[in-house]
Symmetry: C2
Subunit: 299 residues, 2 copies
């Protein structure tokens, strides 16, 4: 059986999309506990952003500290939009962070207010200051951008190459606005895996056009071993018009388990966690996750 | 380019799921007109069922006659649960009907109140009485049943064989409650196409577990040339607990066009038709279809 690492990023990409309420820290923690109880071992637990820009993430340090202390053996990390974020993540005890850069210059300017060069300079600053810290870089708008349109594999490979030259060896290739399609996904990952054999790639697909599961599976089929998803398909990007929910973790695990991939995750427990989340947090949920009826005979 | 026949079945499987309002006949017709304007050439336009059982379909003859008269060159057909339905369909001018039988005996008893033998006897009666009529038989619960659980490929192949022996050469293999998974879909259609080379198979997948698009594409990839979908992903089965929307036509066409299949369908027009439908009919829509923003740059 091929192993697939299921990476839950709802506590970051999902929760940050909720603007109608401040989710209580204890609710966030309860959801994380339930996700972990299902067997998930990799969690993007928060993001260290400006509380003014995204008030929802103002409890980042609390959430991160809780996770690290309660589950010292699991893989926790957080999104950091800048050096300050990385400092705060390290201060909270994290050993891995996700700096973010967009393949599209327009989206990078909108999302982190930096040019490509400014972003790369800041990555260098983070790496120089915290040599022990693992950087797992998010490449946003890798398949297409709301401002610039479709992106091509050569553009992406060239861009990854520049970051690789600076020493980055972990990338998360993000379909920020859900415009990837299967043959594009195959082409992108086949090329990346071949071109950068010393580098790890994970995939992050939004479900905007109902192809989250399809594209995520396509990545797995060509050799990607790590997939980012969110419980309930919650999600979005505050700075990408049209970005909606992510691939739903419970749906994708349902599929992976049926297809005989090894996930180590109990899908029924995940559905229970999703039901709890839906009950506690109003949001932009993806597809039909709450209709999954694991009680149905034989399924 | 491989051609895929897009078969719109929303006017039957979608509309029949609406119980909170009687959709005006002129609204049904307007939606059908808009679907046809997008380039769709195959439409299951209604079903000839008891108006007592499903009042939504009480205008079946009107809808069918309108379609046939306005678009004499297109492929229209209707679901018929029994001989009486077939009589009415023929009287309305249709040349093709969809009798329905479930692989699962329990679902057949619930859905059409017949045993397998009784259903098959009625198919024979329809064929004997109307030798010119094309029968495109729906095999419901082909992948799994809400009462009996998972179905296997050998069970299905054996069952299709019995109907094939009776002269049926057109089948629509239905995942009535959305429990199919990709390797099952591949196995089912690879085996059916190999075992019955003189027979035509189409695929009909519900999106209950968010895998409608994935499973429909999987069928196309192993050689199925005809896919049934519903505008907006509207749908359900009144007699299958847990059955929700179908694969959404506009989403699937979006995918097929990107993957370089030849559909002959203008996806933007289809999205406009879906928006019209959503505005006019409250219902159980599938996934994110209304979030498709075809105006976004480059997509």
């Amino acid at each position: 059986m091929t192993k697939v690492n299921v990476v839950e990023i709802g506590p970051r990409d999902g929760f940050q999309s909720i603007s109608c309420m401040q989710i209580p820290t204890e609710t966030k923690i309860e959801i994380i506990d339930r996700i972990i109880a299902s067997g998930v071992k990799h969690i993007q637990c928060t993001s260290f952003v400006s509380p003014k820009a995204i008030p929802q993430m103002s409890d980042a340090a609390q959430v991160a500290s809780y996770c690290i202390n309660k589950y010292p053996d699991l893989d926790f990390f957080a999104l950091v939009p800048n050096f300050r974020g990385a400092q705060n993540a390290v201060a909270a005890g994290l050993k891995k962070v996700t700096p973010v850069i967009s393949l599209s210059v327009s989206h990078n300017l909108n999302n982190v207010r930096k040019t490509h060069e400014q972003s790369m300079d800041e990555f260098k600053q983070i790496m120089d200051t915290f040599p022990e810290l693992t950087l797992d870089v998010d490449i946003a708008t890798a398949f297409g951008c709301p401002f610039e349109g479709r992106k091509t594999t050569p553009e992406l490979v060239d861009f990854v190459g520049k970051l690789h030259d600076k020493g980055i060896r972990n990338f998360n290739i993000c379909d920020t606005i859900g415009v990837a399609y299967p043959s594009q996904v195959r082409d992108v990952f086949t090329t990346l895996l071949k071109t950068f054999p010393d580098t790890h790639f994970s995939v992050h697909i939004h479900d905007t056009r109902n192809m989250g599961i399809l594209n995520s599976l396509e990545a797995v089929r060509v050799g990607v071993d790590t997939v980012q998803t969110t419980l309930g398909g919650l999600g979005g990007c505050p700075f990408a018009p049209g970005a909606t929910g992510n691939t739903a973790t419970e749906d994708f695990v349902y599929l992976l388990n049926l297809e005989d991939y090894e996930t180590g995750v109990d899908q029924k427990k995940l559905v229970e966690a999703a039901k709890y989340e839906v009950e506690k947090i109003p949001g932009n949920y993806s597809g039909h996750h709450i209709q999954i009826s694991v009680e149905q005979k034989g399924f």
